[in-house]
Each structure stands twice: as structure tokens, then as C-alpha cells.
Amino acid sequence: MGPHDSSISAAAGSTSSSSSACSTSTKPPQPPDQMDHLLAGAGYKVRSNDLHQVAERLQRLETVMVKSSPVEISELVNDAVHYNPTDLASWVDSLLTELNTNPPLSVPVPTDLSDPNAFPANINMYANHAPQVHGEFSQQVVAPFEEDVSIQLVHVLMTCAEAVQRGDLSLAGLLIDDLQALLGRVNSGCGIGKVGSFFVDALSRRIVNSPENAVHADLSAYENEILYHHYYEACPYLKFAHFTANQAILEAFDGQDCVHVIDFNLMQGLQWPALIQALALRPGGPPLLRLTGIGPPSPDGRDSLREIGLKLAELARSVNVRFAFRGVAASRLDDVKPWMLQVSPKEAIAVNSIMQLHRLLGPNSSRGPPIDLVLDWIRDLNPRILMVVEQESNHNQPEFLDRFTEALYYYSTMFDSLDVCTAQPEKALAELYIQREICNVVCCEGPVRVERHEPLVRWRDRLINAGFAPLHLGSNAFKQARMLLTLFSAEGYSVEENEGCLTLGWHSRPLIAASAWQAIPKPSTTIGPINHP
């Protein structure tokens, strides 16, 4: 586990209150009146130069409180507030004096004083990440090491995101400067340093630009394809998606002579050669395969969809599979109308959506989220299989801070898995591809934010409500996925089966989930459009 792994888990809520350390000695001396930004974000005013002393005194206070009798503590709880805890330094001093002299007078009471762990979690930023010594409260100041900076980085990131959510952009700006300084001290080639730098970049963009209008350098479709291709090569997520989908589609097409695959995002069609080859070799011979590829329109007059179709046709011809291709150019998936797909009633249909459905969860100007409409017309097509592969994370929560936290954890894990890839330029361009996703999740709002990932449980509910029944991905798909992973040199990947769906993850954190669905035919009140009375 890399250093950033432990830093993330520390950020998730460690309340190590035993052994002490203070990492502030590594901070450069600040001007005398400079307030610490991190604590300012939490509502406390402490001078940066006083941080060491305040931390020490808080620990002393904790020791004293633990040793105090319950009677004294209950007196503290029952008394009114007299001192302002915002001024943390004088508050802790006065509290220490009170406890030491056991006064009957009232003392300040922040919320849950009876709970020794209730001190602001930010104080733990200065806690050493060494193993805890139970029951012993040592006062030694241990020399800080690299992990402290990582933990600090994460905490400052959180505070900055919180400030952004509150709208306190000036504080957020100051925290960005702090973050840049911290990034200078941490190894930005891997781990938290690298992910952190992307998130700092995204946050600073969000502060500068208005999120609704955020448009970062738009790549041409061609450049996007290149990034996608390198992402395909560098890590197994897309390959897992393609191979699992192909296996499920192959099984769904068993015994069918006319099959039609609708791909929601053709890109360069990397998924289809393997399916064409598998169909060529299936016992009983290959069927007639039709492929409809949906993709963005190409700007410069090239018909990129058609070019891909030609290449696929060439491959199909080499292996003697009857093949027909059709391209549908649409900039948004909800612009596609079912008649454009020209499905024929005799053929078996498979709908393939690799990381496309989440784009439909955003608001549309005229109606609600287009996902329901699209799922509706998919159901009308009556496909034998709807293949859905999505990122396994919740980046569509209404609160910015929740999204930010979730994204930080998710993309840290993903970058961790990418670290083991050594092939360049695949790795660098794959990172660029992921960075664009991060930017979209963090910087954008409204219709521009398209990366609205949702976890498998929510997709399950959504699809079941839309009239689909789950199909179990068989053991063949599972075995194939596991074998595929052994080809990747890293040992950290894991494939898991989850109620008939497969997830691929890194060290037991699932990152991508594949599921298969079958349309339940609608109860028909009308026989058909033509026969409508």
C-alpha cells in the first residue's frame, strides 16, 4: 500500500489521540499575525506560529481530563460558555487553569466535552501516524516524516473543498496557495502527490471560473480517441469492460442467425474485433452481424464513423463473417432517436453502453434528466441484452464536498493501480484522460458536468424501475476476466462477482462494474403503431 493509501484512510476519520507528534516544525516560520488557514476553515483562529504550543496544551488538557473524576467533568458539562473557543489558544489555557484548580465557577463548554475524542479532527493532522501506544500519553515530539505531509495535503484539500462549497472563495484561494506549497514538499511523481496535484488544479479552476460555464480546453474527437486508446492500453478497466460485454453478448446471441449490436460510443471500435472473431468460431458458424455505432460527428468533413466501419468490415471479411455497419452521428445520446437505428423485428438486438449512461443523468434544459427517456426507447427495442458498464463510485451527489471526497478516494485508488504500469507514453496519456474526468467532476456544474457516476446499487434500482430484469453474467465471463487480469503484471487487481454482476477493482476497492440486463416487454394495450384503432 502506497503512502497515500494510508493518508486517505487517516483522513477518513482516524482519531488517534495517543502518541503525539508535531509536524509544524517543518513549516517555515510565518509572519507573527498569520492565522493558520486550515483551522480558519474549521472556524478556529490560531496563529501559525502558535500551533505547536496549542497542540501540546490540548494534549495536556486531554490527559488532565482523562485523569479527572467524573464529577469534575460533569461540572464542566453543566456550566455555561464563558470563553470563546474560536480563540483556541486562550480557550485551552483557561480550561487548563480551571481544571487544575477545580473551580466551582463556570467554564466554557464546547459541544460534547464529555467525549475525549470530540476535539476537532483537524488536530489529528499533527498526530503521528505511528502505531498507537494504548493508555500511554507520551509528550515526546517525534520527528515528522513524509506521511505527515500527505495527511496534511489531504486535510487541506478537504478544507479547501469545504470552503468552496460554502462559497468562501477568498479562504479557498489562500488554501490553494498552501496546497501548492505542500505539493512542493511531497513527491509529485506518484501516489498522493500526483493525484493531489490534479485535484488542486481542478479546485483552482473552479475558484477562478464559474462552474456552469467551465469549459476547459476542448479536445477534438481525434485527440479524445488517442487518450482513450492509451487509457485502453495502460490499464485493464476498458479491456475488462469489453471482454465481459462480449462474452455476455455472445451468450445472448446463442442460436441466433441475425444479430444486431448497437454501440453507444463507438470510438475506434476496439471492442468489436474480439466479438467478430468469437462469432466466426462459434459452433454452427457465424451469424449475419450488423453493428450500429453511435459517436460524435467529426468536425473536419472526415466521416470517422464510416472509416471505423470499413476497418471492421475488412476484419470481418478476413474471417468470413457477414457484416454490415451503420454509423449514427450524434453529439448527445439523447439526440438519438430509435428510428435512426433501423432495427428489424427478426434480429436479436444487443445494446452496449460502456460508461455512457451516466452522462444522461444531468439536467436537460427542457425536461428532466434524459436517462428515463433513453431507457424507455431502449426497452421499446426489446433487446435480448443490455450491457451496462459504469464506474463504481458516487460522483453524482448533490453536495459538492461529498462528491469531492468520493472522487478523491476513487481516483487515488485508480492512480495507485496505474502506478504499476511502466509503458510510456501510454501511462502519461492515460493519466491525462483520467485528469479530464477529475476536472469534470470537480470543476463543472449543471449540464456541463457529464461525469455523473453512480454506483451499481443505484443503477440496479434505476434499471429495474425502468422495466429491465437482471441477467447473470456466467462463470465463463468470470473466468475470462480473471485470466485477463493475470496478463497484467500488477497483482493488486481483483475481480469480484456481485449478485450476477462483475466488478473489477484494485485491492478490494471496486472501480468498475459490469452488469447485463434484459428488457421486460411492456404490457401491451395497443397491438402496434399501425394497428392503433
Binding site: 488517442i226 507514453p425 493475470t486
Partner: protein, 168 residues
């Protein structure tokens, strides 16, 4: 006894004559039988011995045997035409079978298998290799005619092309 010694002497002379006159290159069927039992690395080395051996080793059926000779159950008939269409067994071995086998070997807990030992492949491993082979063929198609050697991947070429293309 003298007679027997004579026969032995004759036999020795006859054996020596045979040894001097026997050349494996005259018996290609025997040569192929031997070569069929080699692993990939040795087979490639054998191709460097002489022109005749080179042309024999280039024969795809040897590599077919190397790839799928040990598959249980035996591969279906259609596989050959597909593999030949996608580039042949030698290429299949080079691009897919050898990397897949070495990776799978590395994963085995009961290590100690040398590369010479032929593994028995199962159906899934065969299918996966073929799929990867097909993807590789397709990537070469995407790369267009300008692929340098057989090894350089379409991805890296595209990247280079992009750098040169200064379209506004």
C-alpha cells in the same frame, strides 16, 4: 570365432559408412518430427541454422503445433482459417501465446516449470489468446500502411502523427 570377428568388423565398417552418409537434411520428415517437439525459443534458434532449416521452420504448421498442439479439447477446425487470416500461427505465438503463457506460468504457485515443458491449455486460454490476437490485428489495421516493422504498435504511431499534424 574368426568368422564372428569378421562379421563384427564388417558391421563396424558398414556403420561407419552409414554415419558418414547420413544427413538429417535429407530426411525432412524426420527433421520436422524433431522440430515439432521444440519450444518456441529453440525453434527460432533452429531457423538460424541454415537456409533449409529456415524455410522449414517458417512453415506455419510447426507453429500451429507449438501453439495448440497440447490443447484439450482439440481446437475446432475453423480456428485455422481464422488464425491464418489474422496473420498466421507464428505471429500468434509471438504476439499472444508466448506472452500469455509466460504470464500464466508466472502466476502458477507450483513453479519450477521450464519453458521447454509444454503446458496443456484449456479452452478459455485459447479463446483469450485468439481474442487478443484479433485485437492486435485490428490495431494494425487502424494504424494503416505505415507500420514500422511488425512490432511497433499503432498507438505510438498515431501519437507521432498527431505531433506533426499542425492543423488549426
Amino acid at each position: 570365432m574368426l568368422q564372428i570377428v569378421d562379421i563384427n568388423g564388417d558391421l563396424e565398417r558398414e556403420t561407419k559408412k552409414l554415419e558418414q552418409n547420413f544427413c538429417i537434411n535429407d530426411h525432412v520428415d524426420l527433421l520436422i518430427e524433431v522440430l515439432q517437439r521444440l519450444d518456441g525459443r529453440s525453434l527460432a534458434a533452429a531457423a538460424c541454422v541454415c537456409r533449409q532449416w529456415c524455410s522449414i521452420v517458417r512453415n506455419d504448421s510447426l507453429w500451429e503445433h507449438l501453439c495448440f498442439g497440447n490443447v484439450s479439447p482439440p481446437p475446432s477446425i475453423g480456428i485455422r482459417s481464422v488464425v491464418l487470416a489474422l496473420g498466421g500461427y507464428r505471429r500468434l505465438y509471438m504476439v499472444c501465446v508466448r506472452p500469455v503463457a509466460s504470464q500464466l506460468k508466472r502466476r502458477r504457485i507450483d513453479g519450477g516449470e521450464s519453458e521447454v515443458v509444454r503446458r496443456v491449455w484449456n479452452r478459455h486460454e485459447v479463446e483469450l489468446s485468439l481474442s487478443l490476437f484479433c485485437v492486435e490485428y485490428y490495431e494494425r489495421l487502424l494504424g494503416g500502411g505505415g507500420v514500422v516493422g511488425g512490432e511497433s504498435r499503432a498507438t505510438s504511431l498515431k501519437f507521432l502523427c498527431k505531433a506533426v499534424n499542425v492543423s488549426i
